[in-house]
């Protein structure tokens, strides 16, 4: 017994101290997941989607160009402290990319990845100024950024012309966290430009499930619209509170994370008219989704909850698309490097030269699920457009064409904030070779 205990203890210590072995025969594309903690409800379907697409590639094609994908998950629980630990762990295991999955963790690892030369891939989240590829050489947030999203929402609220909002009041209900504060600088500029009043209403991490104070304020202020930038338990809390206070749902708009069926099912019919901006739209009959179903879900290799309709959900299929973009970057990198065994630098090149046009999206089998976009050396976001989706009481339906964003305002702000970031983190190498 004693010797066993000793052996176990020694092994434990050795396991903790020894650097994990680096596997060479697979593409190390780790993901920082949070299937535990307060944000697990929204995190899990996304992570399932990401994982299942990569599993499907391994099952169907034996990986990407013949090299299997090691899509290891590292659990963070949305905790930035764990995020740093995961970053260090995956780095020592030879990760090609880091997917921080939280704006907080992104901000934390962003300076470090620039020194370690590892690509940060933050699909549809993270720091919007990452669009500036000259400053953020190693960071990518395709297909679209929060500032793009905020601008598209403002355009949609003004029925295509944001000047229609002149004199109106928009309440900005957001999580009091770097993520929720992210669109404020842009919204302030748009408010000034188009003459509407912006009313930021923060929701603290501890008040996510009880937002009566915030909704009381909304009732008192009588805003023309409520724009929500929430996550996890906050979204469910907000829609139930809106239903309770009988706030008109057609004046309530969320960013893409609010397009989450389980939250809306809580209020069902009462949620009719609730809109959200989404850069993806689920299409379960697409080639990719059918392949995922055949090779992963039906083969019992998926963790999804099939009875709850997770397969058809916005979140799950968004997760699939996140992996589609990552796999495409890997493929581009492999072709450029002329070897299936790519390096970190190759993958960075791949992300910089993504060209997911209509033809390519159709070739992959995801046509109609997301808007086409392309990245470049100077533009690391791609600025894909997004749709407005509306809750009809049972599911989300598309209610708009692809929406435009105010490029001029956003690009100016991106340049300003990226320069400020580089200055605050000096010495920060910039890539001057990029042409616009």
């Amino acid at each position: 017994m004693k010797t066993m205990l000793k052996a176990a203890l020694l092994a434990t210590i050795a396991a903790g101290l020894a650097a994990p072995a680096v596997a060479q025969d697979a593409l190390q594309l780790p993901n920082m997941s949070y299937r535990t903690g307060p944000f697990a409800a929204t995190g899990t379907p996304h992570m399932n989607g990401q994982l299942d697409y990569m599993t499907m590639l391994n099952e169907r094609d034996g990986g990407i160009n013949g090299v299997p994908v090691a899509f290891e998950e590292c659990e963070t629980g949305y905790n930035t402290e764990k995020g740093v630990e995961c970053y260090e762990k995956t780095k020592s295991e030879g990760a090609l990319v880091t997917q921080p999955w939280s704006t907080g963790i992104t901000l934390q690892v962003l300076p470090q990845t620039n020194v370690d030369e590892i690509t940060v891939y933050a699909p549809g989240y993270g720091f919007s100024a990452m669009q500036d590829g000259k400053v953020f050489q190693w960071a990518f947030n395709p297909p679209t950024s929060y500032w793009d999203g905020a601008s598209m929402i403002v355009n949609a609220l003004g029925d295509g012309n944001p000047d229609n909002l002149n004199g109106q009041k928009i309440a900005f209900l957001h999580l009091d966290h770097p993520y929720g504060k992210e669109p404020i600088p842009l919204l302030e500029q748009l408010a000034e430009k188009h003459g509407f009043t912006l009313l930021p209403i923060p929701v603290g991490l501890t008040e996510m499930q009880n937002q009566s104070a915030q909704w009381l304020q909304i009732r008192r202020e009588r805003p023309d619209f409520v724009v929500m930038w929430g996550w996890g338990a906050m979204n469910a809390g907000a829609v139930t509170e809106a239903a309770k206070t009988r706030y008109p749902m057609d004046q309530f708009v969320s960013v893409w994370w609010g397009a989450h069926e389980p939250d809306l099912r809580l209020i069902g019919e009462e949620g009719q008219g609730f809109r959200a901006l989404s850069w993806n739209f689920p299409r379960s009959d697409s080639q990719v989704m059918q392949d995922v179903k055949e090779y992963v879900v039906d083969a019992g290799k998926s963790q999804i909850d099939q009875d709850s309709g997770e397969f058809d959900s916005m979140a799950y299929q968004r997760g699939v698309l996140m992996s589609v973009i990552l796999a495409e970057a890997v493929r581009v990198a492999q072709e450029h490097a002329d070897t299936p065994d790519i390096s970190r630098e190759d993958l960075r090149w791949g992300f910089e030269n993504l060209n997911l046009d209509e033809a390519r999206l159709e070739e992959i089998g995801v046509e109609g699920m997301m808007a086409p976009f392309s990245t470049s050396c100077a533009n690391h976001t791609g600025n894909a457009s997004a749709w407005m989706v509306e809750w009809d009481g049972e599911k989300f339906v598309k209610v708009s064409d692809l929406l435009p964003a105010d490029r001029e305002t956003i690009d100016a702000l991106v340049e300003e904030q990226a320069a400020a970031y580089a200055e605050a983190n000096a010495p920060w190498p910039t890539n001057e070779e990029c042409d616009q």
């Binding site: 650097a19 997941s33 998950e73 590292c74 260090e88 901000l107 934390q108 770097p178």
Partner: protein
């Protein structure tokens, strides 16, 4: 046998008052320091530095600060996380206002801001004690975190509300920011921690420390023998918050690299309090043992299934981890309610007497 103290005669008062009157204690410490200063830095990987060594040291320092207040002076505090925040934000403001300031000096100075805040929120301790004081410090916790969020000047009005640590050089070596090497940061933290620990040991066993202990054990009796309660309690708040503030500055500048207000919320306070309680209230060594159990052990346990090639998902590992650590905490507290430091004291006592039972 190993710990035989027979034959070690003290021939002067100075020797009797030495930091380690028993030779074996000094030798053991020497071995630990040799490990900390030479062997670990030579062998550790970046992951070990970032996930194990640096956080354990910083958390141990924070717990040490709390232990002075709670363990030595008997004043319960739930505001540790916020006081760490004061140190971190003070250091950030000092560095951004005076960029040429030496970072070592900036961290040392930032402790004073935290100490001042600590004394301010310690004032209620003159009237209330026990759980009631805990509530008062809880108010400090919530108020300060709210202040970190709302007062834009503190984070230089950055749009995300987070503070980012810049690259700072000291004598030509980058010590903070993304360009700093793990080794440099580790040594920086280690030196600060050793220095503060040495100071803390000497304060707690000297006149001031005895004053604190007298207040802790019975404040009316302490007052009757001529101890100024106000001075005793406020010095405890001052010294404790100073150390906590320094640990907060190290926490952000030497380890995290960026921070937002929510980082310093109540869960951080509880984490530090757990370290102090499980390590042992009223001991210096306990903070290190506690920090190892609470901070490092989950990381080590998390690596076990992968090391043995057991295929379970990382979220399951996380759930198992929480359960294991919870069970261990309960087990240790049942085994020795006075903390790990007391457990070590008992082991040491047995070793001194060995092979005799009494």
């Amino acid at each position: 046998m190993l710990y035989r103290t027979a034959g070690q005669f003290k021939t002067s008062y100075a020797e009797d008052h030495a930091l380690f009157p028993v030779r074996q204690d000094a030798m053991l410490l020497g071995v630990i320091l040799l490990f900390a200063f030479v062997i670990l830095p030579l062998t550790a990987s970046a992951f070990t530095f970032q996930a194990l060594l640096i956080p354990v040291l910083i958390y141990a320092l924070a717990a040490l600060g709390l232990n002075i207040l709670t363990g030595y002076a008997g004043q319960l505090s739930l505001g540790t996380g916020a006081f760490m925040g004061v140190g971190a934000y003070a250091c950030y403001k000092l560095i951004t206002i005076f960029p040429e300031l030496n970072i070592f000096l900036a961290i040392a100075l930032s402790g004073f801001f935290s100490a001042g805040t600590g004394v301010l929120f310690g004032l209620p301790s003159l009237r209330i004690k026990g759980f009631y004081l805990a509530i008062a410090t809880l108010a400090a916790q919530f108020f300060l975190v709210w202040l970190f969020q709302k007062w834009g000047w503190l984070y230089n009005y950055s749009s995300s509300g987070a503070i980012q640590v810049p690259n700072i050089e000291m004598f030509g070596v980058t010590v903070t920011g993304p360009r700093a090497s793990d080794l440099v940061q580790y040594y920086f933290v280690l030196v600060v921690v050793c220095l503060v620990t040495w100071l803390a040991i000497n304060i707690t066993r000297g006149r001031i420390g005895r004053m604190w202990k007298a207040v802790r054990d019975m404040d009316i009796a302490a007052e009757l023998v001529g101890i100024n309660l106000m001075r005793a309690k406020l010095t405890a708040f001052f010294v404790s918050s100073y150390i906590v503030g320094v640990s907060g500055a190290l926490f952000v500048f030497m380890w995290r690299g960026a921070a937002e207000a929510n980082l310093f919320d109540i869960s951080l306070s509880f984490r530090v309090l757990f370290i102090a309680i499980i390590g042992g209230l009223g001991s210096i060594l306990g903070n290190y043992l506690g920090a190892f159990l609470i901070v490092a052990l989950p990381v080590v346990i998390g690596a076990v299934p992968a090391a043995f090639g057991i295929p379970i998902s990382s979220s399951t590992v996380e759930h198992l981890n929480v359960m294991t650590i919870g069970a261990l905490i309960i087990a240790f507290l049942i085994l020795e309610p006075h903390g790990l430091a007391r457990l070590w004291a008992i082991i040491r006592e047995k070793l001194v007497l060995w092979p005799f039972p009494h």
